[in-house]
């Protein structure tokens, strides 16, 4: 069972604001889903290696040479708020 405090803790880790209703619903839904996921516990996995990537890959090296990249104005074009030089955000320490 995922309680309210756990939901709020995880939401904070995920930088996600949830309303009281959402916290309530999330607690029930996550609990139901995790109960199903826990059927994995039936398996003996002690000696099994985890798979993070399914296809065998070999490392490929390339010359470390500069290549063209997005011009600054183009990179800034889609920002909700930008100066000519960078992305503009409120102070991270407004409430510090």
């Amino acid at each position: 069972m995922i309680d309210r405090d756990q939901v709020l803790h995880v939401a904070k880790l995920a930088r996600l604001k949830l309303t009281d209703d959402e916290v309530e619903r999330m607690s029930g839904e996550l609990s139901t889903i995790l109960d199903h996921i826990e059927t994995i516990g039936e398996l003996d996995l002690a000696d099994v290696a985890p798979t993070s990537h399914v296809v065998q890959l070999e490392n490929v090296l390339r010359e470390d040479v500069p290549r063209p990249c997005l011009p600054r104005e183009k990179a800034l074009e889609q920002a909700p708020d930008a100066t000519a030089e960078g992305f503009r955000v409120p102070s991270p320490a407004a409430h510090a």
Partner: protein
């Protein structure tokens, strides 16, 4: 006009190359149909009279192509079905789209989808659900529901989508068309907005197997911009097989029995008999860990998603909810921009990766993934291909499962084991149940797409899929 609608993508390309069809006429025909559609299949279309360049000498000859809105297309809105990317016009185009455009595909429009490809019904789109063209009260499947509905309704000759746990095959099944999830890495993921990076793969949604092979042939390729992309060891051929002699088809009880509704089971059994009539041999195989596929998938995919979606913070692109403190702005932007399913998966993934839970959830899910992949390796020592239904049910009603996330997830039971193992699988229409299409899935080992296309082609001919009530005939 209906003569244009009768043409598959490959046939249209041939006619253009032979000088018998004007690509601009074909493009306008589909654009106009798409502009008048009532399925909500498209999120973006060019303005009337606005046409791309038609490369009539290229293999795809300027035939229009619908593109899932998960692909970045330069200067053209690309939202991933999310409000958080409303109005976003990417500065570059996805490699898969570029490859197809170089081969002569003309971008027809961007199709609706479940937000960030998270969903099995298209009801999670930030821009409203897509309707199933066979019956507008039903879902088209998801997450590539817009692409599937567009092809099934004759609003595009063909389309591309993406598949993480079934998002090409399941909507193809529910809409009565063909959909291929290729081998992981065979098509570049560069410019494909990321959901679960170790599973995501893009592929074609088409009216028939020939079209799927033709599109896939021009999508594959190693890409320096995607370090997980690989060179396909084979040239993709257009299939011609008429028989299945000598081919062994594995039938796993875990993915063909419990949970498969009777009408789907009936079509599946008919298909098995057809395989035998065509000379194929049916072999009982076991995929004992595939029943744990949903559990492993719904840890791994949300875990990767929670990391991938961290980038939507209202700083560089997309929407922003203004607050006077940076952290509050992140939190409010993400609250306002993401829909309920995306929030649920971010929460699930963040929880599974959080301190104290990591090994119990993520670590064990990765171990199950190893076991699922081993099951397939063992099975392919005995058989050439594995055959199952694509979805345990036909299309369900809009709203039927939206209040029960777990019930929605269980829809993916027959399609999640393959991406967990990185192997390719196709869905082709097998027949009808309750006047709705039933899809048949064929899976093969990594890089066996040519083998899959050949078998699917022979089977497609034998099935003779041509229902009089099909939506593309309306």
């Amino acid at each position: 006009m209906s003569e244009l609608l009768d043409l598959t993508g490959a046939q249209a390309a041939e006619k253009i190359k032979a000088g018998e069809l004007d690509p601009a006429e074909l493009f306008d025909f589909y654009r106009d149909r798409a502009a008048e559609e009532d399925l909500n299949a498209y999120l973006w279309l060019p303005d009337e009279g606005q046409r791309p360049e038609f490369k009539t000498d290229a293999p795809l000859a300027g035939v229009p192509l619908a593109i899932k809105d998960l692909f970045c297309t330069e200067g053209v809105p690309s939202t991933a079905g999310s409000r958080i990317l409303e109005g976003y016009r990417p500065p570059y185009t996805a490699t898969a789209v570029e490859n197809l455009q170089s081969a002569g595909a003309a971008m027809l429009g961007k199709t609706n989808m479940d937000e960030f490809a998270m969903g099995s019904s298209n009801e999670n789109s930030g821009y409203g659900p897509v309707k199933n063209p066979w019956n507008h009260d039903y879902v088209p499947g998801g997450s590539s529901g817009g692409s599937a509905a567009a092809v099934a309704a004759g609003l595009a000759p063909w389309a591309i989508g993406t598949d993480t746990g079934g998002s090409i095959r399941q909507p193809a099944s529910l809409c009565g068309i063909v959909g291929l999830k290729p081998t992981y890495g065979s098509v570049s993921r560069y410019g494909m907005i990321a959901f679960a990076s170790s599973l995501d793969q893009c592929g074609p949604l088409t009216r028939d197997v020939t079209d799927a092979a033709l599109l896939y042939r021009h999508m594959v390729g190693q890409d320096p911009c995607d370090s997980t992309s690989l060179k396909h060891p084979e040239t993709i051929e257009i299939p011609t097989a008429e028989r299945l002699d000598g081919k062994r088809f594995g039938v796993p009880p875990e993915l063909t029995g419990e949970g498969v509704e009777p009408g789907v089971q009936e079509v599946f059994q008919q298909t098995l008999r057809l395989i035998e009539e065509l000379g194929g041999e049916l072999v009982d195989i076991a995929l004992p860990h595939s029943t744990y596929g949903i559990s492993a998938y719904y840890v791994i995919a949300p875990a990767e998603a929670s990391a991938n979606l961290a980038r939507y913070d209202g700083v560089r692109y997309g929407m922003r909810t203004v607050a006077d403190d940076l952290t509050a702005q992140y939190e409010m932007t993400r609250h306002d921009g993401f829909g309920p399913e995306v929030k649920r998966r971010i929460m699930l993934g963040t929880y599974a990766l959080s301190s104290g839970y990591y090994d119990a959830y993520y670590g064990n899910a990765q171990r199950v993934r190893t076991k699922i992949a081993e099951d397939f390796t063992n099975a392919f020592e005995q058989v050439d291909l594995i055959v199952t239904p694509t979805s345990p049910t036909v299309a369900f009603k809009l709203g039927e499962k939206t209040d029960d996330p777990l019930a929605m997830y269980l829809n993916d039971a027959l399609t999640v084991p393959m991406p967990l193992a990185g192997i390719p699988a196709i869905s082709i229409p097998g027949g009808l149940s309750e006047d709705l299409p039933v899809g048949i899935q064929l899976a093969g080992p990594a890089f066996s797409e040519n083998r899959i296309f050949e078998a699917a082609y022979a089977l497609e001919r034998a099935i003779g899929w041509d229902p009089p009530e099909a939506p593309w005939k309306r």
